[in-house]
Symmetry: C2
Subunit: 386 residues, 2 copies
Amino acid sequence: MSERNRTVPRVGMVGGGQLSRMTHQAGIGLGVDFSVLATSPTDSAALVCGSVTLGDDRGLDDVLAFAKAHDVVTFDHEHVPEPVLRAVEEAGGLLRPGRAALRFAQDKLRMRTRMAELGAPSPRWRAVTTLEHVADFAREGGGWPVVLKAARGGYDGKGVWVVADADQAREVVDRAAAEEVPLLVEDKVAFSRELAVQVARSPHGQVAVYPVVETVQRDGICHEVIAPAPGLAEDKAVRAQQLAIEIAQALDVTGVLAVELFETADGVVVNELAMRPHNSGHWTIEGARTSQFEQHLRAVLNLPLGSPRTNAPYTVMANLLGGRDPEVYRRYLHVMARDPEVKVHFYGKDVRPGRKIGHVTVTGEDYQDLLERARDAAAYLRGDDQ
Amino acid sequence: MSERNRTVPRVGMVGGGQLSRMTHQAGIGLGVDFSVLATSPTDSAALVCGSVTLGDDRGLDDVLAFAKAHDVVTFDHEHVPEPVLRAVEEAGGLLRPGRAALRFAQDKLRMRTRMAELGAPSPRWRAVTTLEHVADFAREGGGWPVVLKAARGGYDGKGVWVVADADQAREVVDRAAAEEVPLLVEDKVAFSRELAVQVARSPHGQVAVYPVVETVQRDGICHEVIAPAPGLAEDKAVRAQQLAIEIAQALDVTGVLAVELFETADGVVVNELAMRPHNSGHWTIEGARTSQFEQHLRAVLNLPLGSPRTNAPYTVMANLLGGRDPEVYRRYLHVMARDPEVKVHFYGKDVRPGRKIGHVTVTGEDYQDLLERARDAAAYLRGDDQ
C-alpha cells in the first residue's frame, strides 16, 4: 500500500509495451498507484510511467519480486511462462487474470479443447505432430488449404500459417518439430469478415461487454477496426457478446478478455482469445464512455466497472505501421494538420518497417468517411505517398 | 532532443500540480517527450510522470536549468516571478507563453490596463493604495459593495475581497499595505452568471476556440462547469469567443488562454485571464475532440491544433473537494458503482477539507440531469451525506 494514502491499491503491469503505456494513461485518471515491469527504460510504457521496475518480464525472480511489491499484478502480454505464474501464485502473489485463466490464452490446444467443452462455435481442429496427421485432417474435411498454428508463442500473424498443400505443410511441420513447438491444424474458415468483442469481468463477477467490432486484417496484422461492425445482424451481435461473457465466466477471466471471431453465413466462430486490453479495443479510448484500459484496471482492482456505451455512432481505429523512413515526426505534423479531428496515439517506439508505432482514431456518423480518413492518416505516416 | 528519436521535441512543464498531471496524460498520446519541474516527489504530476526534475519551480537556478534541458518550457501556474522569466529568456530559454504575455496573467493592474487599451469590456476599476481611494471609487460609481483585488498572487478566491463598506475595506487596505501588495478596486458587476472560454494559439498564429461554458462558483471556488453554457444567446457566445481570440492575439499568448467572464444584461465583461489549461476547461477531456491539455501541448510545440468540436450536446464537470474524512477510497468506489457513466479524475492528492482532489465529468443530452449526477458524485465523495 502507498505510504501516502494506504487505501489506494498498488497495481503492477508486467510488460512495458504500448498496452501498459495506455493502461498507465488510464490509471492517471483513476488515481491508482500504477507501476510497470519493463525490460528496458526505452520500452513504450517505461518512457512515460512514473513508476518503472526494470527486470525480466518473463522470469521468476523479477515477476515474483514485482508481485510482492504490489497488491495486484496484471499483464500486457501472454508470455510469462506457466511455471512462473504458478510459483508466483503459490508464493501469495495476486495475479489477475490468474494462471488458471491465462493458460487458455497461452496455449491454443488447451483453448480449443476448452471451447469444445463449452460448446463454443469453433473451426474443426486437431493436434498434429506429423505431415500425415495434417494430410488426414485435410482429406477428412474440405481439403486444402488448411491453417497450421503453433500452440504457444504466436501473435500478430506469427505462428499462423495458411498452407495450400502437403509441400507447404511439410515445411511448417518440420520446423515445428525441430523447434519442439506443438502444432494444431484448423479448417480455413470461409468467413465473410473478422469480428472482435471485448468483455471485462471483475472478481465480483460483474461483466461489461462492448459492441462487436469489425477488424480489417492484412497479412495477419490488424490494420483497421470499425466499431460497431457495420450492418452486423442483431442476432449475431448478441450471440458474439453472449459468447464473450460465457467464455469470461467459464474461464474465470478477471480483466479484459478479447474474443476474435470469424463471421460466417451461419453465425460466428471463435478464432483467438486474449486476456488483456487488445488492439481491437483501442477504439474505446475515444469511442466509449470507459476505455478498455480503464475497464481493465477497474476489473483487476475489483472496482465497479464503467459504462461501455459508445460516444458516437461509429468509431474507426487504424494502426500506424512504420515505413522505410525512421524520421516520422514531420509526417506526423502533416497528419495533424490535414485532419484536426484525427486522434493520434504514438507509442514512443523507434520506427521499423511494419512495426506498430501508434494508432489513430476518428469518431463520427459515416463509417466509410471515417475509415477513409483513418487510412489516409496511417498511409501518410507510413510514407505510402512517396 | 531525445537520444532515441531526435526529431521528437522535449517539452517541460514548470509546476507539479494537477494541470501538469493531466498534460502529461495528454502528452502520452501525442508521443512527445514530456517532463515536469516539481517541488516534491509527491506532487500530483510527479506521482505519475515518467520524467520528473525536482527543484524550486519559482527559482531562477532551477527554472533556468530546466529550460536549458528542454526545447520548450510551459507552466502549470503563474507564480514564476517576472525577473526569473526574463533571465531565462535572456539566457535563450524558450518559454511558451513568454514573459511578455505572462505578465498580464500575473498582474491584474497590467491586465486591466491592457484590456482598457484593447477596448475589451471590463468592470470600472482603479489602482488604489488608501482607504480614501476606495471610498472615492465607491462614491463615484454605484456605491458599496466594491471588489478589492490583490494585483498579484491571487487565485481561487484568495486575493479577492467583496467589501460591503469602508470598515471592511480598511481591513483589506491595511493588510495589503503591511504586506506591500498592490491593490485594485473594481465595481461589483451585476452579473447573471459567470462564463469562461478557452482559446489555444500557436506561435504560427493558428487559433482554436472552444464553446463558451458556464462556471458555477461558490465562495470564490469553481464547483461546476456546464459546456456549452445553457441558453447563452448566440451573439454573446460569439462575442466571448471573439474576445478570447483578440486577447490571445494582442497579448501574443502561446498555449491555452482561459478568459473568465461575467454575463450581464448588456453582454459579457472580462473578469480574469489564465495562460494555461484551466479548471473551466477540464470538461474538454471527455467533452471535446481535443482536450485543453492536448491543445496546450500542440500550441506550445507549434504543432497544428486539434479540433475543439464537442463530443456531446452537453458536458458537465464538477470539482471533487476534500471533506473531513481523509480516507476517500471507499467513497470513491461507491461513486463509481452508483453511476457507471461518471468519469472520475483523481489527482493523487492527500485529502484536506475544501481542497480540489479531483473532478468528475458526465456527457449527455440533458444538462440538468448531468449537473445533478455530477453534483451527486462530488457530494458523496466529500461526505455531505453523513
